[in-house]
Homo-oligomer: 344 residues x 2
């Protein structure tokens, strides 16, 4: 009998690594292939190019019961731009493909594209191509984004050094709580369709979930502060999972401090409503699309007063592992409990 | 009541044009966006870059009942490489994303990737990125390919001039007949599963359908002959539809001659078996992935003896329209009856 291994046996990152292990780059210009926020290829000009691609599948990545198509279009572009930013690069071009069932009308697709157009204008990205198809069910969006960066400016996940400071922009956990609010109202609606969903007072968290922004502004802040991060990633899977990528690829450990993790007041308040620990939301929630990066200790003075950043810890020896240091000074190993594309 | 327009009301090309009409390129480096085989962007180096993207959806673009996953992987890469070739460019990089239901095992995906790997090696393409996801149903593949070309060498669809000769590589209609053979055996199998499918004697046509090649070799032939095409497209939708793209975008008409259309002996033989006109298969079948291009009359002497090419007609005034001249010297208007991604 033929062997059958389920796809979820490996986890998403190991799956891609497994499937692509025999692909050997043939071009010297391929500087970095699979394994970072984006690939890096050198052109014969001044800039290198970075390339990233993302799938958004209905029922897996989004729920149209509470996601307006315009927001979805905006988010689809923003999350790809975020991957480009995580390489310290500027986004320039995207291609957008979609496959849809006949459940979707032209007017629905116009909504989707109006959101994408807003994001393209906001981030200065040109839509240069795409493909469309019917599909047996649902809506599927595939986006590829291309950006450019000076070779000496590019930042990967593997460049963190021992004792580097760990910094994150904005605040964390909000997008996950926004999702909880939406899921709760969906359940209410399903059991009692006559009740209007009550989303008042959740503006910030809903915006974090439904209309996240790529932190292109952070690249400018860093440039203004004359800071070149040593490693960087965007927080898409959750702080724990994403920080562990930096640590693993830099062959280091890390310590982060509970009392340094940035949480918005709304995150703390609504987490309490749901009986959730806001710290757990920040560590494992994901989809915040903040930039998480490391800097040399000598850059501390440059960044310490900035309202845009929180210094949350530092890189340690690999043997120490990745740890959360609590307020009571206990150390717990971080766990990658982030997003899994292949669930049981 | 809200208006609802079905997506198939417009046709695929008009749909993309409609949805993207308000997207204004912001970068001067965006030379050509949507509307050719690939987009063209200038880098700050010697070469321009071309970018193309394609979706392959189970049940729409392929049927796994008779498509081996390894062949599908090969074809998925080849059709994107073909789009790059149609710009007279060399493919360099691809990203591959897929979404699958839990019907698919790891071993199945290994098969798919082994085919893609073969194609990457054959065409000299580096796999640099991708995304994976579960999906509610079926298998969906999204590929983006990036190539490079010297700015003076790039060929678009809109450069044909009056009286230019129309040339096509290889032969046409075979891929469509390969599909008919496979569909016939599928019906036999469905009605009588105990009968083994009989595919003997159809090797050429099945290869045309299941494992098409991108004609990168044609670019070398043209370069050796010192021919720079004035316009080019790959035959994916069918000769009629694809030639009409060149004519329309070049604001010209065209005449092609029935007795010049290249047909393989197997195509003629099997078309007869199926009671089909092989010429119709060539005009409307599609998926041949040959290169269709125009050249100036002065290049006639260079190409006339080549075994790789057929000169099938010439460009005419726009007012004449796009015509097929039959053996009995009758003129019929060509019709774009090619592939439709959104069927009724």
């Amino acid at each position: 009998m033929e062997q059958r291994t389920e796809l979820n046996a490996l986890g998403e990152f190991a799956l891609i690594k497994h499937l692509t292990q025999y692909f050997i780059p043939q071009h010297e210009s391929t500087i970095k292939g699979i394994g970072d926020d984006a690939a890096i290829v050198s052109s014969d000009g001044v800039h290198d190019q970075v390339v990233t691609t993302d799938l958004l599948i209905e029922g897996v990545h989004f729920d149209l019961m509470y996601t307006p198509l315009k927001h979805l279009g905006y988010k689809a572009v923003a999350v790809n731009v975020s991957d480009i930013c995580a390489m310290n690069a500027r986004p320039k071009y995207i291609t957008v493909s979609f496959a849809v069932s006949n459940r979707f009308s032209l007017e629905a697709m116009e909504e989707l594209y109006s959101g994408m157009q807003l994001a393209c204008e906001k981030y200065g990205v040109d839509l240069i191509g795409g493909d469309t198809s019917s599909a047996p069910s649902g809506l599927m969006i595939s986006i590829t984004a291309i950006g450019e960066v000076l070779p000496e400016k590019v930042v990967t996940r593997d460049g963190a050094k021992l004792n580097d400071l760990i910094v994150v922009s904005g605040d964390l956990g909000g997008a996950y709580l926004g999702l909880q609010v939406l899921e709760r109202e969906k359940e209410v609606y399903k059991s009692t369709p006559s009740i209007q969903p009550d989303l008042s007072g959740f503006d910030y968290l809903l915006q974090r979930q439904l209309k996240p922004e790529a932190r292109m502004d952070v690249l400018q802040f860093l440039s203004d502060l004359k800071i070149q991060p040593t490693a960087m990633i965007d927080v898409s899977d959750g702080l724990s999972s994403d920080l562990m990528h930096i640590a693993k690829q830099s062959m280091l450990g890390c310590d982060i401090y509970e009392n340094k993790i940035p949480l918005a007041p709304d995150t703390i308040r609504v987490a309490a409503d749901f009986g959730l620990d806001p710290l757990t939301c920040a560590l494992n929630g994901g989809e915040d699309y903040e930039l998480l990066f490391t800097i040399t200790q000598t850059d501390y003075e440059k960044i310490k007063g900035s309202p845009h950043f929180s210094i949350i810890g530092h890189m340690t020896e690999e043997s120490t592992g990745c740890r959360l240091i609590t307020k009571s000074n206990e150390a717990f190993n971080l766990q990658a409990q982030g997003w899994q594309a292949f669930k049981e």
